[in-house]
Symmetry: C2
DNA sequence: GGGATCCATCAGGAACGCTTATAGCACATG
DNA sequence: CATGTGCTATAAGCGTTCCTGATGGATCCC
């Protein structure tokens, strides 16, 4: 119910201790104990087992709700403040991995010429973070990238009424090791590669490929970062294949299914002003 | 911040009056005035213009967040209570329009034979309502239907950590008026029908078709209900075309793009028990 | 077994939020 | 133009809530 109680519960669960949570939140241990008791009474079921302190089944479930819930609350605050705030001449553009390619960069350059008083900060962020940063108000605009069918919108985490508009679509290529037998081809079909070994990276999630092209796509090395150079090096060394936008790395064009590297611009409420102008310039639609 | 304040704000905005909202919520007018003042102070901006009472720009934006936010809060409560509750022998299955077809019905029948002590209530609901009913705890299971590429998951409104599993996929047919020149064909391509007039109904949203097959799909009559007989009658009378699952009505099979009528079963946390058994029986995966 | 640590409980006090009462404002009416 | 009516804002009072500080009981470690 009360977001503060939820925050306390999250902290206790994370730290595994009422006392430590109290210290972190600036409460007394007694207050934390009472807050948890209130929450448990409200739901009619224990959320934490004591000694040691660990979430119960119901508590685990409650925790799964807690993060998105608090995010939405923050998003509502941030969105309203954005509407009410004076038009800003400084804004932050959160860009996920592979989201800021040549085409968007060029459009950004043109827009900055037209909007000389605007100071833009581009902030790199992890895959899936951009929408959260925009929702939470830490960035005014966000760029997210993903693999999709042409003009098919990306699936963004739902963190409130964000506007998402297509900003760029680019062909995909299959990145292959140097001496790979298929490296000379003029084009490849994904169906022919289901049995190959694939790199598992946030830049090219294998679950997405299975959604789009059926089962298969055995995972080789698992890389959790988002550095393009690392990925291309891993591919060259034969750890597995991956899909990349054509402008990012050399590779063999993907012919079928018809998939593209799609970039979308996401933003919340944008009152008329430089931020809205920039958004319009980045996502001409 | 406090959900109660948000609820008060929504009520005031809906009724256009502090006094009326106070009466409806069982507060005094003074309390409502103070609550709105608190909310505005917290956000640092007016949410309502007074005399007459109407939302400001920021208030409009806040209202857009309010509904989903309260829904998520309810969803969290309902989900946790579901985990903690004793295994129920009565449960409700919310079924959206066209979601409960022959295959699912047959599986439900088989499951009820195996689970004789289970009492099932099937509750029809509007398109898009099923997920909300499940999230809010009014139904344990939900069936939603939509048009999608084969094994492509549907896009459900994000109301919390719901599990969605494919329950059925069925070919689509194009429903045509009786004497339509294409009625005799063995199959049709959507691309050949972009310029036809289409019925606009929740059962076959034209935006979805445009997503999947490009622009076009001119809207003829707009029907807001979900009665299948009404839709087939409207089609027969020439008001427009529509897509339906093959089992629902006669029509010409849709050949391309490869789209299916997909049904998914959605549910929240299901502790072992009859509800989980039924879910497993309905969505064999 | 003794000490330390941790959570639950209790009592007291501060803070919050609602009610009652009243002031202030806009608009309609005579 | 004065007045009444209907609305919201503000002030004071008060009950409830929620936090603090102290204490008790349980568990773990030495």
């Amino acid at each position: 119910m009360d977001p503060n109680l939820v925050r306390t519960f999250m902290t206790v669960a994370r730290l595994g201790s009422f006392s430590a949570a109290a210290a972190e939140l600036g409460y007394t241990q007694s207050a934390v104990s009472q807050q948890i008791a209130t929450l448990e009474a409200d739901l009619g079921t224990p959320l934490l087992s004591r000694r040691p302190v660990a979430p119960t089944g119901a508590g685990e479930r409650r925790l799964q709700h807690a993060g998105p819930l608090l995010l939405r609350i923050r998003a509502a605050r941030a969105d309203v403040r954005r509407v009410a705030a004076a038009p800003a001449h400084r804004l932050t553009l959160a860009a996920g991995p592979l989201a800021l390619g040549p085409a968007v960069a060029a459009r950004l350059a043109r827009a900055r010429v037209r909007l000389p008083r605007l100071t833009v900060t581009v902030r790199a962020c992890a895959a899936g973070e951009a929408a959260r940063l925009v929702a939470g108000g830490e960035a005014e605009l966000g760029l997210v990238a993903g693999i999709a069918a042409p003009s098919d919108p990306l699936r963004l985490p739902d963190v409130g009424p964000l506007t998402a508009t297509g900003a760029e679509e680019e062909p995909l290529v299959v990145a292959l090791p140097d001496g790979h037998p298929l490296a000379g081809r003029a084009g490849l079909r994904l169906a022919d590669l289901v049995d190959a070994r694939w790199l598992r990276t946030p830049l090219c999630p294998l679950e997405r490929l299975r959604d789009l092209a059926g089962d298969g796509f055995r995972a080789g090395l698992h890389y959790t970062g988002d550095d393009l150079r690392t990925v291309t090096s891993l591919v060259a060394a034969g750890h597995g294949l991956t899909l990349l936008p054509a402008s990012a790395a050399p590779g063999v064009p993907l012919l079928a299914p018809r998939l593209v590297h799609r970039v979308e611009l996401v933003h919340g409420a944008l009152p008329p002003g430089p931020a809205a102008d920039l958004a319009a310039a980045l996502a001409p639609s």
